[in-house]
């Protein structure tokens, strides 16, 4: 038997084995496991948007550039992979049909000059990118890789490097042997062939064949290993981005009807689309880097959450989900700030599965005493302070003229005040200032007085879905009696749920409002339309903190900044601003829970970040919980002399 015949047979067998193993493993993970999951209607619809998404986020590698250099490296590895997949195809064909022609070339693909040039250069870029990646992984070893499978990562980089080098050597030797008709188009390959040019033809042939077998072997081995680890994302990334959840981030899906069990306590209770996420995680750790819970106590890492869920899924839930795969402590640490979901290049959703598991913990009463008490107070009094709902509007008693009761007379703007703005002694002054500013602007507004309850945003995110439903019902009942056009609120959490979740909960039967505004948006409009005029220019140098539920969740970044500039203040941005803003740590019900051991509170880290800005004397916030957290942090970091925390309304008030 000739060598070429053996080659063809071996390649055929290798192909069958490799594809067989790969196929079997992929089938088990994607088909068998995913089928155990619940339906995912959110993965479908809006096809145009989805195609656009694939182009922006996969083809153009959109979010990867948020971390610039590694992102660029990956861009080249990705595109290199696409381009060079044709060379792999060519290599397979060459081996498979070796018994016909030892230098079998695929039509077009195998003989196109410009394509060959592109492939040569991409191979070089990939080598450079992989070298950088190896340097990053082995030398720099950044924090975000902590917990990721290091040896797996290095091994795959080694595979890619080998594939590239063997390809170039193989091509180079072909050029040396004069067997390449388009050798002029492969300068890089020619370069790689040079070291072997001195050997005799026989030896070069052997080296070439070794390079070939090594190339094919590593490719096929890599293929079989693909479904076993983070590199499965090579297969799952396109469907993951294509089928991503297009619901607004601030809307959680409605919980299934109560059937005796609540939330997720076993892996097959997740939706299949969530399971696809678990397989898509590349362990890149970008989410971990921006997670405030990870920074403060290293208990929760969104990346490790995904990896653990994948582990459990692969083992078919052999271990109970909670507490063996994921501890209760991890689940309670999340502030739902959305930094992880925002950062993930493949749109993996970390918060939704976490809330699903929290729903289970709540149903079992597995929470700390402080949270239990807060929920009991919310359930009974509709606020987390445990104060009578009759006192909800006590803050308004001293406001003259008396604020309209929206339950009794029609108003243009319904001001949904919120818990902290109504009850917290350190915030009520700001609420009164807001009322005065609204009055100065001649706004026709009213409040619900005792009819208002906690909006429920964080109650839902803590996992008490039933209580959320009750609060929504009560608020909708109060609002449906009122007559108004627009809702305005000073609380971004309330803003988020009123805008995105209340219409969903009301089943679209009742048209709630024309729009829901955060007061920064309203102030912005009032200023630009001239209804609010400033009498002086404040010359403060300030910095602005983007609240999570206003910024990341709802994209409102510009309006508050315009308001600040309109007051005459000079705005200096913190390094982490806009959608990179660091959460204050109060969200997701964290403000109702025991703190536990902390290395550094996110609120304190944030204040230090602001204090490091030269000349900045005022830290501006636009959320009552932010005000509470940051004023505390100024005290605990001893920064009273350095920074003052002010609400946006205070600047506006002063400038009037």
């Amino acid at each position: 038997m000739s060598y070429d015949l053996i080659k063809s047979i071996v390649v055929l067998i290798a192909l069958l084995v490799a594809f067989g193993v790969f196929g079997w493993r992929a089938y088990q993970s994607l088909w068998v496991n995913l089928r155990r999951g619940k339906p995912s209607p959110e993965a479908f619809g809006q096809w145009g948007e989805r195609v656009k998404g694939v182009l922006t986020y996969v083809a153009a590698q959109g979010r990867l550039f948020r971390v610039l250099i590694p992102g660029t490296a990956h861009f080249f590895i990705f595109w290199g992979f696409l381009f060079l997949s044709l060379t792999i195809l060519q290599a397979i064909a060459e081996g498979l049909f070796a018994f016909i022609d030892p230098h079998f070339k695929l039509p077009i693909v195998g003989e196109l000059g410009p394509l060959a040039l592109a492939q040569d250069f991409f191979a070089l870029f990939v080598i450079i990118a992989v070298t950088y990646a190896l340097y990053l992984r082995l030398v720099v070893n950044p924090e975000r890789y902590k917990g990721s499978h290091k040896s797996q990562g290095v091994m795959v980089l080694a595979f890619i490097m080998t594939i590239m080098l063997t390809l170039l050597v193989f091509n180079g030797i072909l050029i040396n042997l004069g067997k390449d008709s388009i050798a002029a188009w492969r300068p890089i390959s020619a370069l790689f062939g040079l070291p072997f040019a001195g050997l005799d033809k026989g030896a070069q042939f052997v080296v070439g064949e070794i390079a070939y077998w090594l190339h094919l072997g590593v490719v096929l081995f890599f293929l079989t290993e693909l479904p076993e680890g983070k590199h499965f994302h090579i297969v799952t990334s396109v469907p993951a981005v294509f089928l991503r959840d297009l619901d607004p981030p601030g809307r959680l899906p409605k919980a299934p009807e109560f059937d005796g069990k609540l939330g997720v306590s076993a892996i097959n209770q997740f939706r299949w689309r969530q399971m696809l996420d678990f397989y898509t995680c590349t362990e890149c750790g970008r989410c971990q880097d921006v997670c405030p819970a990870y920074a403060s106590a290293q208990i929760l890492s969104p990346k490790l959450l995904m990896m653990n869920l994948r582990e459990n899924l692969t083992r078919r839930g052999a271990q109970p989900l909670i507490p063996d795969t994921i501890s209760e402590q991890v689940l309670w640490s999340c502030t739902t700030c959305y930094a992880c979901d925002q950062e993930c290049p493949l749109f993996i959703q970390h918060i939704k599965p976490l809330v699903d598991m929290r729903r289970y913990l709540v149903s079992e009463g597995k929470m700390d005493a402080q949270l239990q008490e807060a929920l009991a107070k919310l359930g009974r009094y509709g606020n987390s302070f445990g104060q009578s709902e009759r006192n909800r509007a006590k803050w308004a008693a001293t406001v003259q003229p008396k604020i309209k009761d929206a339950r009794k007379e029609p108003v243009e703007y319904l001001w949904f005040v919120g818990d902290y703005a109504s009850y917290s002694p350190s915030v009520v002054d700001l609420t009164r200032q807001t009322a005065q500013v609204f009055q100065r602007a001649g706004l026709d507004f009213g409040i619900l007085y005792e009819g208002e309850r906690n909006s429920g945003n964080d109650v839902r995110r803590v996992g008490e879905e039933g209580l959320f439903e009750v609060l929504v019902e009560k608020n909708i009942a109060a609002m449906s009696k009122a007559n108004f056009k627009t809702i305005v609120t000073t609380d971004p959490h309330s803003y988020n749920t009123l805008k995105h979740e209340y219409p969903q909960m009301a089943n679209g039967e009742w048209r709630m409002a024309d729009s829901v505004l955060h007061y920064a948006e309203l102030l912005d409009t009032l200023i630009t339309s001239g209804k609010l005029k400033f009498s002086k220019k404040l010359n403060y140098t300030v910095t602005y903190h983007d609240p999570c539920y206003l910024g990341r969740y709802n994209g409102v970044y510009a309006a508050p900044r315009r308001v600040i500039e309109a007051t005459g203040c000079k705005l200096v941005e913190m390094p982490r601003n806009g959608d990179r803003a660091l959460c204050c740590g109060a969200g997701g019900g964290r403000i109702w829970m025991e703190e536990g051991t902390v290395k550094e509170r996110p609120s304190e880290a944030r204040i230090r970040e602001a204090a490091a800005l030269d000349g900045v004397s005022i830290f501006v916030a636009a959320c009552p919980k932010d005000i509470t957290m940051f004023r505390d942090a100024v005290k605990t970091t001893g920064s009273e002399a350095r920074l003052v925390v002010k609400d946006l309304i205070e600047l506006v008030s002063e400038a009037l």
């Binding site: 700390d368 005493a369 402080q370 002694p425 025991e594 703190e595 536990g596 005290k635």
Partner: protein, 325 residues
Amino acid sequence: MNPDIFVVVEHLRGQVSDLSYVMLAAARAAANATGGKVVAVLLGHDAEALARDLAADRVLYIEHAAFADFSSDAYQRTLENVIKEQSPRAVLFGDTTMGGDVAAWLSTHLNLPLVSACRTLRADAGALKFVSQICGGKMMAEGDLPGPTALVMMVPGGYKPDQGHAAQPPELVRGTAPALDDLRVTVKEYIEPAVGDVDVSKEQVLVAIGRGIQNQDNVELAEELAKALGGVVAGSRPVIDQGWLAPTRLVGKSGKAVKAKLYLALGISGAPEHTEAIGDSEMIVAINTDPAAPIFDLAKFGAQVDILDLMPVLAEKVQQAKGLA
């Protein structure tokens, strides 16, 4: 009609409770109005000596082995007879773990009216009036003491225990207990509180924390303040129930009574079950964000600031003051 006022003395392990002396003082006030005698009823086993400083005109001592421990059954059966025979104007019990087991049962059994949570008894135009405190100490209820025989459960605070101590031992009369075999309620063993920890009843400076401490982590702030002041941390019931402090630190009805030189009540509302145990302290300072908290009725000084903010600042200032001294 028997104008006498009876007091059921409470004692545990050889010690008469402070509340018993308070009740004797109250009984004296009532007896002065009715023109009757104060009779202390003492049920015990080899316990005559306990009668020696009771400020009563007469002590009715009933001896029985069953009285070595407190059994609701034994007390019910014995006192039932005493009251039926004597029909005094009033019988005072402690509103406590002992009196609570007995008084209400007797009220139903003997069809006699009962007033509980009573702080004071006073005379008003020949009639006896009671004042009780209810609703967590936020409400006082006053009325005529029903007759001809009324049962009264008393709480501390209306009288000083000193007023119930006698210089001379009172007259002792012996009574007989009914048959007390076949008791349905018997004490099998005692479980002592943890030893080796501090005894808050002997401490001079106490930093007491209540619900306002919010969670376990903040207890540390109180520890630091206590250390700076040279005292120890104590707590009210909610704090002990949550496990944030050892039961030995409980100050209150089910815990210890304290006589501190300085009692700093932080985030404590001042419910009677707690305040009844701190009244003997020289100076009480209360910090609570609720201006209507009943603790402010007992405290000499108060403030409405946040205790979580105050504790570290105060600890530092105390340390500074000590550093300079």
